[in-house]
C-alpha cells in the first residue's frame, strides 16, 4: 500500500485542485466541451423536427442514454463503497471522491439530455450487490474501480456510432475521454502500465 501511495504522490495526483478552483477550471475548459453537446440538449435542439429524426430513433437514443446513466449510477455507488471501505489511504480517497464527482456530473448531463427528449432518466438501484467481501485492501478496491472504468470506456465507444443524434455522440465521446483518464490513473496507482495500448474498443 505504501508503494501505491508514493506512486500516487509522485504522479502529483495529490495536488488536485480544491473543489472550487476545479469547478472554475472545468467551467473554463472541460465543461465547455461537454456543454457544446450539452447546450444543444438543454436548449431543446435535440428534437425530432430539427434533425428530421423519426420518433423511433429518438426513443432509441433515450434507451442508449438510459443504459449509460444506469452504468454511471453504478460507478457512483462503487466509488461510494470504496470510499466507505476504510481501505483507502487519504490520498487515494481524494482521487476516488473526485472521480465519483465526475460520474455524478455525467449523470446530470445525460439526464438533462433524456428529459429534453421527453424521456425519464434511469434511476439508481437501491442495491448493486457488489462483491464487497472480496475487497480486502486498497489494491482490490482500485482493481475493482479500474475494471468499471475500463468497461465504461467500451460502453461509450460502443454507443458513439449508434446514436441517431450526433450531438449525443459528441457528449458520449467527451465522457469517454474522462473515463479513459480515470482508468489510466487507476492503472498507474496499481503499478500497471497506465496506457497499455494504442487502441481500445
Amino acid at each position: 500500500m505504501k508503494i501505491l501511495q508514493s506512486k500516487i504522490s509522485e504522479s502529483g495526483l495529490v495536488e488536485t485542485m480544491s473543489a472550487r478552483s476545479r469547478r472554475n477550471f472545468l467551467l473554463r475548459t472541460g465543461a465547455v466541451t461537454l456543454s457544446a453537446a450539452g447546450v444543444a440538449m438543454l436548449s431543446g435542439c435535440v428534437n425530432a423536427g430539427k434533425y428530421g429524426t423519426a420518433d423511433g430513433a429518438v426513443s432509441q437514443d433515450v434507451k442508449i442514454l438510459n443504459t449509460a446513466i444506469g452504468a454511471e449510477h453504478e460507478a457512483v455507488a462503487a466509488y461510494q463503497v470504496g470510499a466507505e471501505s476504510g481501505l483507502l489511504s487519504n490520498d487515494v480517497l481524494k482521487v476516488a471522491v473526485q472521480f465519483q464527482g465526475h460520474h455524478k456530473e455525467h449523470i446530470e448531463a445525460l439526464a438533462k439530455a433524456v428529459m429534453s427528449m421527453g424521456g425519464t432518466p434511469a434511476e439508481a438501484k437501491s442495491d448493486y450487490g457488489f462483491p464487497v467481501h472480496q475487497l480486502k485492501n486498497q489494491t482490490h478496491v482500485l482493481e475493482f474501480a479500474a475494471g468499471l472504468e475500463r468497461g465504461a470506456v467500451s460502453a461509450y465507444a460502443g454507443a458513439i456510432p449508434v446514436f441517431d443524434n450526433r450531438d449525443l455522440s459528441l457528449a458520449a465521446a467527451s465522457i469517454l475521454a474522462d473515463e479513459a483518464m480515470h482508468w489510466a490513473v487507476l492503472r498507474h496507482a496499481l503499478g500497471l502500465d497506465p496506457v497499455p495500448g494504442a487502441f481500445f474498443s
Binding site: 442508449i64 438510459n66 443504459t67 453504478e74 468497461g151 467500451s154 460502443g158
Partner: protein, 137 residues
C-alpha cells in the same frame, strides 16, 4: 496474426448441454471454434454493464447458452428483448453481438457491436465456458 483456436471447453460444454434434452436444439450443435482465454480478455468490453454472476446494467451471463432471451429472473429487460423469443446459441449470439440493435431493434443494449468475426467467436467461447464455473452453478 493467426488467432489461436481452442476447441476444449466450449465443445465439451455444448456437448453437455446437448445431453440435457430440455436445452438441446438444432442450433446448439453449431460448435464454436473460439478461444475462451482470448474471449476472457475481450470480455473487458462487456464489464461496463455485465458480470457473469450478477445483474448489473445488463443481465448476468451465467447460464446464457440455451436460455431464452430476456428471461433471466430479476432483470428488467426491454420489451423488444422479452418478445424476441430467441434462444441463445452460438448462432443467435453471433448475430446479436455483431449488431445488437440490428438484430433486436429496440434493445437496451445500445452498442454498435463486435464486428470482428474472431473476436465474436472467442467471446462466445468464453460465455459458454462460464457455464462450467462454480459461481454459475
Amino acid at each position: 496474426m493467426m488467432p489461436t483456436v481452442s476447441f476444449g471447453t466450449a465443445l465439451l460444454t455444448v456437448a453437455g448441454l446437448l445431453a440435457d434434452a430440455s436445452a438441446a436444439s438444432a442450433e446448439m450443435s453449431v460448435l464454436t471454434s473460439g478461444d475462451a482465454t482470448r474471449g476472457k480478455q475481450l470480455y473487458a468490453q462487456c464489464v461496463g454493464c455485465h458480470s457473469p454472476e450478477r445483474h448489473r446494467t445488463g443481465p448476468k451471463h451465467c447460464g446464457l447458452i440455451g436460455r431464452q432471451a430476456g428471461t433471466a429472473a430479476g432483470f428488467d429487460y426491454s420489451k423488444s428483448m422479452r418478445e424476441s423469443k430467441l434462444i441463445w446459441s452460438v448462432r443467435t449470439l453471433d448475430s446479436f453481438l455483431f449488431s445488437p440493435l440490428g438484430y433486436i431493434p429496440g434493445t437496451n443494449m445500445g452498442i454498435s457491436g463486435i464486428k470482428d468475426d474472431n473476436d465474436r467467436s472467442d467471446l462466445i467461447a468464453y460465455l459458454i465456458a462460464m457455464n462450467e464455473w462454480p459461481e454459475c452453478r
